[in-house]
């Protein structure tokens, strides 16, 4: 079980992601991660996780970067015995992404549970956090609060 999480693009690369194709190292900044979802070129509609077909026109979607940053739309700190080896407490949120018009569900950094509030700016990170359905340690995406003095 992982109770702490650290941003990394190099460490823990031997661990499997909790699901395939949902995040990637940023092409623009190798020190950042970005969410990966779907995009329908015809409808200009985004999805996360990627819907293979657009729900409006049923065309096949393209894999598309959804960026790294966003703002917390709503959040919950979960204090009961957690599932999947997640730490106690842990926090989840809906995040409004900055790069694309999409609201996604994701984990927040569990060490920042008590500091996160609606409207706060967050940036994607990836690290060992809990286990997968097979009980193996795995990498999960989670959003960290952006410090006020943190530049872009």
């Amino acid at each position: 079980m992982s109770t702490a999480s650290e941003e990394t693009t190099t460490n823990h690369s031997d661990l499997p992601p909790v699901a395939d194709g949902i995040f990637a190292v940023s092409a623009e900044d190798p020190n950042r991660f970005e969410l990966v979802g779907g995009h329908c070129q015809r409808c200009d509609d985004y999805s996360f996780p990627r819907s293979m077909h657009c729900c409006h026109c049923r065309a096949e979607t393209d894999e598309h970067s959804l960026g790294s940053d966003g703002n917390i739309y709503s959040l919950a700190v979960v204090r009961i015995k957690p599932p999947l080896g997640l730490p106690r407490p842990y926090a989840v949120a809906y995040i409004d992404l900055e790069a694309v018009p999409l609201r996604v569900f994701c984990l927040l950094d569990p060490v920042q549970c008590e500091d996160a509030v609606i409207g706060a700016g967050v940036r994607l990170s990836v690290g060992p956090l809990g286990v997968n359905n097979a009980g193996q340690d795995c990498l999960r995406p989670f959003f960290k609060l952006i410090a006020e003095n943190e530049d872009n």
Binding site: V18, A19, I22, D45, Y46, S47, P49, C55, Y73, S74, L75, A76, V77, V78, R79, I80, P82, P83, L84, L86, Y90, V92, A93, Y94, D96, P101, L102, R103, F105, C106, L107, I118, G130, N132, N133, R140, P141
Partner: protein
Amino acid sequence: MVKIIGASVTSFGPRPDQSITSMAIEAGLSAMRDANADYADVGAGFFSNALGAKLFGDMTIGQNVFAELGLNRIPVVNTENACTSGSTAFYLAQLCIAAGQSDLALVIGSEKMCVPQMGLIDSGANELETLLGMVTPAGFAMRAQRHMHEYGTTPEQMAAVTVKSRQHAALNPLAQFRKPETLSMVLDSPMIADPLTRSQCCPIADGAAALLLASDDYAAGLDRTVRLDAAVLSSGSYENGADIGRWETDSRTAALAYEQAGIGPEELDLVECHDAFTIAEIVHYEGLGLCGPGEGGALVESGATSLGGRIPVNVSGGLLSRGHPVAATGIAQIAELVLQLRQEAGSRQVENCRTGLAHCMGGDRKGDTKSCTVVVLSR
């Protein structure tokens, strides 16, 4: 026109000596006795169970139940639709009667949850939201946080839902939690997912419920019948940018039901709604049109939704206090309306009630529900 001529609910709560099947049979026998109906006239069976496959490896339980009731050879349908499993079985049964396929259809829902292997309810082990930590209390806690942020809804208003619920359940001998709780007791109970404390989350339970539906012709001449005015089953919108401070699926489904019934929310005398969490009841008030957007907290605080108030909600005790054996819940809600509309609800009777609404929803997907049912009954 479809009528309900028999209704039954077992006690809800831990029932360690009972199985899904034994509770289902108990409820089915009782509903048939309630209607004093002939088993030979039952032309179809609809059975709901949501968790038997996951918890016990059981499947197609309905045929086992109906066979034990001597109802073999007839069409039997098993439904799983999360918390609306029972009301979905009811929805299919009324379609069967309305289509003229049978004069009588028996609906039974049964669930057994109070076992060690029962964990947190999620929306499917392999869904990404589940893998990223979505558990049902978290989904409703995020809804509560947003409602508080946008409308100023308070923890005390949410806790008032539980206080009311326990007061109602004290009058229901079949309910799971019948002891009164004060606002401070509710707020001081252990935090589950901020701001929802344990007393604001419905308990797991074992239990079953059953309804016997009849065609108009069959029911002619029977007394104690209740008329079905509307039955709607819908699924979520799953639109990008889910607006969790309001619940479009609630209002959309309710609007269809009001249209079918030819009434508006102001004509309702009582409501049973899906109060899995306190914030859920507040949001459902708004979605069902019992008050305006953002006014749900004030509505419960005013006493309007208490027994004796303008529009009593969940006089059975609701999910929060009657208990929530998932696949029995949607049927138990309708059974409560039947009892009330017959004026047979004893000390929790809503005076002079003629029209009631039952609302149920189940499953999570993209900030919306997977399934929503609204039923309107009258007498």
